[in-house]
Symmetry: C2
């Protein structure tokens, strides 16, 4: 397989499905649905949905079945970006080269668009007609897994500790706490939900969990590194913003070389966990490489 065409193919599928599942711009209230769609269709790479599809394929699942779940996860990811960018949080004016949600729609609508996207994810995940082939028991497990990863001891918890740590010296365990939760938790949820909907057994679930944990952390370390050495034009955001904000990062704590080594080590660890899946895990394998080597 060729990774670029794999990513492009599934990005197209995910975008089309998101367009189907999100309420249209003319649905009342239009201002809210416009704001929700503005950020969902802001040029995301759909990495989390594609990870979910690839995990489902690795256990022999039908990727058509997992598509709505993948869209729900992307809605949660998008809500977290909208809220992260708010003036009270990171106060970012641009994301991927476009004005952030609150710059276009105002702060109040941006907060509510985030709230609505998070809620919409659970509307979709519990929809009786959208997931006809997935047993209710499995749907509940998927909802539980995704909600836990997104909640106060997952993504939101990571964001709180990240904010608390700005401008402070923090320990390595605190840095790992932030990274495994703020970004890692939702990536792990993608992998685990894909495995569940794909119909995995316990052993496969454990192996893919190891992959998801390692790949999620590798992704965030690569992100930290890109913030130091990345190309501003490719990234669509300012380079050096972590340092400016006094954010704790892997390069800041370990140095650039050691951070790179750690990312490569985690990538290899992730891929070792894929051994039992053979050829079917090839997309996951290549995505782990992509995560560490990407330039944006």
């Amino acid at each position: 397989m060729e990774l670029n065409s794999y990513l492009k193919h599934h990005l197209g599928r995910v975008d089309k499905a998101l367009d189907t599942y999100l309420p249209g711009e003319s649905v009342l209230p239009p201002a809210l649905h416009k704001a929700m769609r503005y950020s969902v269709f802001a040029g995301g790479k759909r990495l989390r949905p594609i990870l979910m599809i690839a995990a489902s394929e690795a256990v022999g699942g039908d990727s058509e079945l997992v598509l709505p779940v993948a869209c729900a996860l992307e809605m949660i990811h998008t809500y977290s970006l909208i809220h992260d960018d708010l003036p009270a949080m990171d106060d970012d004016d641009f994301r991927r080269g476009r004005p952030t949600n609150h710059k276009v729609f105002g702060e109040a609508t941006a907060i509510l668009a985030g709230d609505a996207l998070l809620t919409e994810a659970f509307i979709l995940l519990s929809h009786p007609e959208v997931l006809p082939g997935v047993a209710a028991e499995t749907r509940c497990r998927v909802i539980h897994t995704i909600a836990r990863c997104a909640g106060s001891q997952g993504m939101v918890g990571g964001q709180v500790v990240d904010m608390e740590s700005e401008g402070r010296e923090i320990s390595f365990p605190t840095l790992e706490y932030i990274h495994t939760r703020k970004t890692g938790a939702l990536m792990l949820a993608s992998i685990q939900a894909g495995a569940m909907v794909g119909g995995c057994d316990e052993e496969a679930f454990r192996a893919l969990t190891r992959y998801g944990e390692a790949a999620g952390l590798a992704f965030q370390i690569a992100d930290d590194i890109l913030d130091v050495v990345g190309d501003q034009a490719l990234l669509g955001k300012d380079v050096g913003s972590d340092q400016q904000r006094g954010k704790a990062t892997y390069p800041a704590l370990l140095g650039l070389e050691a951070a790179r080594d750690r990312a490569v080590e985690l990538r290899d660890l992730a891929n070792e966990a894929l051994a039992p899946f053979g050829e079917r895990a090839e997309p996951l394998r290549q995505i782990a490489h992509y995560i560490v080597d990407r330039t944006s």
Copy 2:
């Protein structure tokens, strides 16, 4: 039955259950869990959870079974209050006589505490051990109903239109749109979820839906009226704040007397829907009266 002791009894049960289901203040990150608990335990009347318990009892359900669902709904209600109070929204410094969440914990933590409470509700609703007696199919239906009522075409949608309407002349249909969604939707969800978990048939579900729609709207009209004629000390908030903000209300659009008549009419409509349930619906009946006659 005596309504006051009924309300007090179930308020105690709900508070105790909320304390069990919410992560403790020492759970990482403590600042977040403190902020979440601060607003959940800010002296709410637990009207929505109690409506859910009463609806479950009306169809012969076990109120023990519905308690976690009732707690999840109260978490969603609390998140909506935290976000409504934010500077970018209603900019309120006090609620029920205590400083609002962002005044105590800062704006960023308040936003995240709201996000985490909304997410926590879905963690709870999908928990495999907390709802052992409720079939997964029913849990999915309950999640779907609650999420829809809370989402972009429910509560959040109502909040957006409410904001858009501030300081403007609005039509009566727009006012009803706001009221049935901003407050009504979550009260309807309480009733419907209680009925589902209680094991109702289709006919009972439709009857209780009629009750929930009417009682929810009556509640908001009574709220509008209290903002004009209420006792500031009993309410724990400023009287006349709707008018100051140029908010559209029933008294402003219809006049005080006609608004009162409409609330009483809706109360009677709600109670007519309870006829088939006999004695078991006595709590719901008395709550409808309480909703319209309350002083705080």
